[in-house]
């Protein structure tokens, strides 16, 4: 089957900083990819190139058969099929949970309101916040907000889901309730790319782990290889720095 995402040697500069160096990456349908690496390694930038939130200076990004250019119309088309969950939730605070979820289906997919609400409620139930549908985001805990954000993205029936450090802004006791939802989603066969520092989660859910450092992909492979048999010094150093607490 054709790759859902194919990134070919993209480069990006933030001023003089070379944020992405010749990065190539392909994501097959139903694949679950985890991107990890130290902060500032370009993981989020790479992720945001997949739905055009970030532009790139050279190379090529093709998502679901559409080549992403700087023309905003191509980005609109791609974003219809790509859901995204942010570190800081980014729910719309002036709308109720349900309104957050039906906004895009109604305006972008032209789904009738009743149908959109029914769909939204089913997704909200699936992430265990169905009872909060009438509340405003400010009334929910961080974990609940992030689960709503996942439901909101799912309401667009995306072909691929992007997670940008979905648990980094959460209190420790709420991290698992969000990770459990993502694991459940992975089990349904959803294609996903997740930037995270949660290594136990990565090992459990990922088909492939991509390790980035200083704008480059240093190493990639199945979790067993990455965690148990790292080949490069940079990955070894990274793993020992984050796994120190666990030993």
């Amino acid at each position: 089957m054709a790759d859902l995402v194919s990134i070919d040697r993209i480069n990006k500069w933030h001023g003089s900083l070379h944020a992405l160096r010749d990065v190539s990456l392909a994501v097959a349908p139903h694949e679950r990819l985890v991107i990890c690496g130290p902060s500032g390694s370009g993981k989020s930038t790479l992720l945001r190139c997949i739905n055009g939130l970030e532009t790139y200076d050279s190379g090529e990004v093709i998502v679901d058969g559409t080549r992403l250019t700087n023309d905003s119309r191509t980005a609109l088309g791609v974003r219809r099929e790509v859901g995204m969950v942010f570190q800081s939730f980014n729910l719309f605070p002036h709308m109720t949970v349900l309104e957050n979820c039906v906004l895009a289906p109604i305006w972008v997919r032209n789904t009738p309101r009743l149908e959109a609400e029914e769909l939204a409620r089913s997704y909200l139930d699936r992430v265990h916040v169905g009872a909060q549908a009438g509340k405003y985001p400010g009334q929910l805990s961080g974990g609940e907000q992030q689960r709503v954000a996942i439901a909101r993205a799912l309401c667009m029936a995306p072909k691929i889901m992007l997670f940008d450090e979905p648990t980094s802004a959460l209190d420790p006791e709420m991290i698992n309730e969000v990770l459990d939802i993502i694991v459940g989603l992975a089990d349904t066969g959803m294609t996903m790319v997740c930037v995270t520092h949660e290594m136990a989660f990565a090992r459990r859910v990922a088909d492939r782990i991509v390790f980035m450092d200083r704008g480059e992909i240093i190493e990639q492979g199945p979790p067993a290889e990455i965690f148990d048999a790292p080949r490069t010094d940079r990955l070894k150093a990274f793993l020992s720095s984050i796994l120190k607490d666990l030993r």
């Binding site: 739905n51 905003s72 995204m84 942010f86 980014n90 729910l91 605070p93 002036h94 305006w107 400010g138």
Partner: protein, 281 residues
């Protein structure tokens, strides 16, 4: 049953009941103080030995309940008309200017900043006079009403543009990105996501601007418009009842301002919904 007890316990824990009581107590003291101050003011006016009969006789004209000799609206009604029309025009001008201010296009940015700087940097009175008295010199003759409306709209549009711009800029970038990630087009993001959130921030300063505009509309009296201030001055001059007429005009302006403030308060509450419930948590 168990649930009720839990809810009640929760309310007590958060101190919900005492807070409500404290709030209403506060409000009562505010009203009482206002009442005392209003009575003091009324007593002061009485001590001035004003001719209330004359005020009562001229009040319908000041309020604009009767048409002027030229068959046009006058008094407070004309003041409100000038303010309302200028408000709508200023709002339109301000939105376009704010868009220019936020634009990546250097020409749009320059046009917006040039206009805002020019009209914020010159006195409203001078602008009114240039439009009404100086433009005829180059062949542009505008009526008093048109001149007044144009001057007020352009002047307040410049201020309001800055208010709108600052409101839009205060919305976190993440809001726009989340909306973009949902594939919402640009206009819809402004209409549904960033705009309504910015409005909550824009309404209080914009409300203050409109109250200020209501009072600055008195400036157009120099264009021969029979609005509230003009009528008050003419009646005063004719009868030497300056104190009566000017105090009456001031009170009417004040009453209108209070109505504006109430509308502003209502709008603030309407657009602050998500924030208000979050604060109560």
């Amino acid at each position: 049953m168990a649930l009720d007890a839990e809810v009640a316990a929760g309310a007590a824990r958060r101190g919900a009941a005492p807070r409500v009581a404290r709030k209403s107590h506060f409000r009562m003291q505010v009203w009482a103080t206002w009442l005392v101050l209003a009575l003091l003011l009324a007593w002061g006016c009485r001590a001035l030995q004003l001719d209330f009969g004359y005020v009562a006789q001229k009040l319908p004209f000041l309020l604009g309940l009767r048409l002027g000799p030229d068959g046009f609206i006058q008094g407070a009604v004309l003041t409100l008309f000038v303010t309302a029309v200028s408000m709508v025009c200023a709002l339109g001008i301000a939105m376009i200017t704010a868009a220019g201010r936020l634009s990546d296009n250097p020409v749009a940015f320059a046009l917006a900043t040039f206009y805002a700087s020019l009209f914020r940097g010159t006195p409203l009175l001078v602008q009114v006079l240039i439009i009404y008295l100086a433009l005829p010199q180059v062949g542009v003759v505008l009526g008093g009403l048109t001149s007044g409306l144009i001057a007020l709209s352009l002047n307040y549009g410049a201020y309001l543009a800055e208010t709108i711009r600052s409101g839009m800029m205060a919305i976190p970038l993440g809001q726009r990105e989340a909306a973009m990630a949902l594939s919402l087009p640009r206009w819809l993001i402004i209409w549904k996501v960033t705009g309504p959130q910015a409005l909550r921030l824009i309404i209080p300063p914009a409300g203050a601007l409109f109250v200020s505009m209501l009072k600055d509309s008195a400036l157009v009296s120099i264009l021969g418009l029979w609005e509230l201030n003009f009528l008050a001055q003419s009646y005063a001059r004719a009868s030497f009842r300056y104190m009566e007429m000017l105090l009456a005009a001031a009170l009417i302006y004040w009453a209108l301002s209070i109505v504006f403030e109430i509308v502003q308060f209502r709008l603030e509450r309407r657009f602050g919904r998500g924030v208000a419930v979050a604060a109560r948590r």
